[in-house]
Amino acid sequence: MTTTPIEAVDRALAAIARYDRPDLEARLRQARARLADDHVRLLVVGEFKQGKSMLVNGLLGAPVCPVFDDIATSVPTVVRYAEQPTVTLVREEARIEVPVDQLPAYASEAGNPGNRERLDHIEVGIPRPILAEGLELVDTPGVGGLGSAHGAATMSALPSADAVLLVSDASQEYTAPELEFLRNAVSVCPNVACVVTKTDLYPEWRTIAQRNQTHLESVGIKASFFMVSSTLRWHALQTGDQEVNKESGYPPLVTYIRKKVLGEADSLARRSTAHDVHAVIDQITESLRAEQAAQSDPASAAALIDRLTLAEQRAAGLKERSARWQQTLSDGVADLNADVDYDLRDRMREIVREAEEALAAGDPTKIWDQFSKWVQDAAASAVSANSVWATQRARWLARRVAEHFDSEREQMLPSLQTASSDPLRSVREMSLRADEKWGIGGRLLTGLKGGYSGLLMFGLLGTVIGLSLINPISIGAGLLLGGKTIGDERKRIVQRRQNDAKTALRKYIDDVTFHAGKDSRDILRAMQRDLRDHFTTLAEQLKRSLQESIQAAQKSVKASSADRSTRLEELAAELAALEKVRQEVTP
């Protein structure tokens, strides 16, 4: 088929324009909007310094992402199609366009160390044929650097990606963290491919690739493998040497992206469009057919109307059945909500438990920097693990709901987009309340207070047996009590700091739980609404088509025979036209 899905929808729209069915038109328009907006997100991930940016540049055939010998990328860079090269900085709500040559100043570790500018991501638009089909390449900062909060962010972006390329260089086989990441990626993303880069530099790359494959097999992950050399690709692009290009290993990767990633997304889009178009046209044809039958044989019209009424009742039955699937859906979502919430709270409790143990060991102000970083990292990774899990469960639930519908066509699921948001962004950083100063002066005063009372106490006792108020015993007692008061005070201060730290910790974890919980509840609620609307509209459209058929049949009984024959001709022509459109759109 040569028509693109959008063209097919346009044709179908034109064909049904005369039947005055705004509900069906709305459905097609929605399908069209979904198609026009569809991007295929390809996430390029891996540990740092594995050649991710070089890979993106090699795929695009243009030096888009900054490349540097030291750690380079600090902000996720989204590359998509645009007529003119553009660079847009995205920061929470704001979008700022900057000149193209300023990209390195924002995307690289040298220009924007540790993402000081607090950018969400950077969008780059360039005119490249590979992007024209809706591909979106995302270059991520490396995982595992010193500020490893990146890792959690990459994990939470996984469910929104259509495909993931895991990049690791040929210097060594997979390490434990990489394999762990792959395992997670495979569970939430349909297309995961492993790319081994820098094959030009390491003579042993075949052995490494072999070992990597064995590692993957041993944990039961199936993924495509590609061995590439960006240096060779770059050389080939500059000299136009096809031989070198072949050696670089890029062509199979590009084919994979075109055929498998884009192709799969495209065929999915085609399937769902074809489904929409067919459903719409079938409904109209059915009412036309009913009219045709009634017009050609008025005698049987009564029987026909009976049959149609029966069908209408069946459609009403579908609504009734909707009660059952709605039950499953709402029960499922409630269960899921409880489970996800429990999982999140459990993870957080574990963190709090470990953290409190660490706090109990000593003065928290001394370890505060490391401690707060650890807590924040742990919370971030717990939240992302929780959200990945929630997404998996949600998809499973959607399939369960669809099982309530009989025919294959009715079971078609709407695409469930789980928006990737970073719930931790709105969480305030963990901070310890500024401490009261307890310097030498304070210490002296405290000591004096204790010492004074000790001196007075024992001095007065001494006067009873005839010693003076200030005697060696009372001075000794004063010193002892003074020392004890200082010690007590120190203990009290440490204890208060510990309590403060515990409060700060609990507040922070509460905050995280609150935001992350809200986030996951939002996702689930949106999904519930999507599914409910999807299936309800389906049932209503079916019912309305049947009603129209009945009306048409009833009308035909009253019509004259001359009208009847012209109407029959019209009907035949219309049916033929619709059938043509239907033929054109094949899944």
Partner: protein, 473 residues
């Protein structure tokens, strides 16, 4: 002198524990350790190039290297009169293994034995003053291998680690590197660790995709890490080394040189285009493939350039390769950081071990514990080490320029008086006296400064003593 004192205390302790054979045996081991070479462990993530660097340091292809994960047990390489390999199983007595070398490298087959460690004796000049210890990589897929390394370097059963100093290899600073270095600081060698760890950016030749200027990039990265505050407290220095290049340079053969020279004399374009990738270079020729294994893409590129520039003999090329690989720099750092402090580091390890025994052992430690405490507190060298480590980890805060001078005076970059005073190595004794005197005055003034806290003032007093020591030399 410090060694003598430690030896005396240890002997007394052995005497005191003579009715507990295990403890006495352990202490006798510590005593022997005082007379044996400094033990330097080479640690790092998997495939960081530990064995390659060890080979480069020894100057021989001793440790087996491979594309896959290779080192699986902790292996000691020490000097000995004749080659010998002894396997120490977890249970049972040590077993001697046959010494087999294939293509230069040792071939050791362990079978299924549960091995605690391997000890390789090898007659070598480079091993005379330091025993090198190769460890399995951290963050390895073989969880057990990685555990072995961590257990060796930071044992949790309350005994100090067996290594006196550590060379930590990393490709780039990874978070697991940092956490490992940190755990190393917290436990084991404890109390002062930044002073016995040197970080190495290994495989430096691969950093810039094997371009000829790769080493320059690598040095710049090393310089950046040196100023990284997170790393400052974790290790003493960061050096970039191309291990493969260094090893090859130290073992370059005449035939390899001849082959390289013939390559360099051929048309330049041919070589350039064949060096585009490793596959292209090695295709179809066993000799070329072997050369590639020894040199890497960067090594061949560099050697060809050097030969073209007029390095025209095997010895000269070997010399150039070694000096460009950064090995010299590493050796110098090891010399100043570990070599010159050898006795002190060993004494410290022994004292820490004794201290543990006294603390955990049953009773009887009173007098000995006091003795150990006295040596720890009373020896100025230990005070210097402690202060140095405290300064680096930021426990003691001094204004930046003062801290830098203090670190230098404490022997951060070498313990020779001229280095400590920041003078040229050939400075006259009069000059030395003058500078030392000026430093003494300065630190005396600092020590009296009422604006400093108690810790800082104590630090200044340690430095005053250091300056006095420099004056009396």
């Amino acid at each position: 002198m410090i060694t003598d004192e430690v030896r005396r205390v240890l002997s007394t302790a052995i005497d005191a524990y003579r009715d507990q054979p295990r403890t006495a045996h352990f202490l006798r081991g510590q005593l022997d350790r005082l007379d044996s070479p400094l033990r330097v462990a080479i640690a790092g993530r998997v495939k960081a190039g530990k064995s390659t660097l060890l080979n480069a340091l020894v100057g021989d292809s001793l440790a087996p290297t491979d594309a896959g994960e290779c080192t699986r047990v902790v292996t000691w390489y020490k000097d000995g009169p004749s080659p010998r390999i002894v396997m120490h199983p977890l249970l049972g007595d040590p077993v001697s293994l046959p010494v087999v070398r294939r293509a230069g490298a040792l071939e050791i087959s362990l079978g299924d034995a549960q091995v605690d460690r391997l000890v390789v004796d090898w007659p070598s000049q480079s091993l005379r003053h330091t025993t090198l210890i190769d460890t399995p990589g951290i963050a390895s897929l073989g969880f057990e291998n990685s555990q072995r390394a961590v257990r060796f370097l930071t044992p949790d059963d309350e005994t100090p680690t067996e290594a006196d100093a550590v060379i930590y290899l990393m490709k780039h600073l990874h978070s697991s590197d940092a956490s490992f270095l940190e755990s190393f600081r917290d436990q084991g060698v404890a109390r002062a660790a930044a002073i016995n760890t040197v970080a190495v950016i290994s495989r430096a030749d691969e950093i810039a995709g094997g371009r000829v200027d790769a080493m320059i990039s690598a040095r710049a990265i090393a310089a950046r890490y040196r100023t990284e505050p997170a790393l400052h407290g974790l290790c003493q220095n960061v050096v970039a080394v191309a291990g493969l290049l260094a090893h090859t340079g130290r073992t370059l053969t005449q035939s390899e040189y001849t082959f390289l020279a013939s390559l360099a004399d051929g048309p330049r374009e041919d070589l350039e285009s064949s060096l585009l990738s490793a596959d292209r270079f090695a295709s179809g020729s066993e000799e070329r493939a072997a050369l590639l294994r020894r040199f890497g893409v960067f090594g061949i590129r560099l050697s060809a350039t050097l030969i073209r520039q007029g390095v025209r003999s095997q010895a000269a090329l070997a010399e150039e390769l070694v000096s460009r690989s950064g090995l010299r720099e590493l050796q110098r750092v090891l010399q100043t950081q570990f070599g010159e402090r050898r006795e002190l580091l060993k004494a410290r390890s022994a004292l820490l071990a004794l201290d543990r025994v006294l603390r955990t052992g049953p009773g009887g430690g009173g007098r000995l514990a006091g003795e150990v405490e006295r040596i720890f507190a009373g020896t100025h060298e230990f005070a210097e080490l402690r202060l140095l480590s405290a300064l680096r980890s930021g426990v003691v805060a001094l204004p930046r320029p003062m801290a830098l001078e203090a670190e230098r005076l404490l022997g951060d970059s070498g313990i020779a008086p001229s280095v400590r005073l920041g003078l040229a190595p050939d400075a006259s004794s009069g000059e030395l006296r003058q500078t030392a005197f000026a430093a003494l005055r300065r630190w005396q003034a600092h020590a009296e400064n009422p604006m400093f806290g108690r810790r800082s003032a104590d630090a200044c007093r340690v430095l005053v003593r250091t300056c006095e020591g420099l004056l009396t030399r």
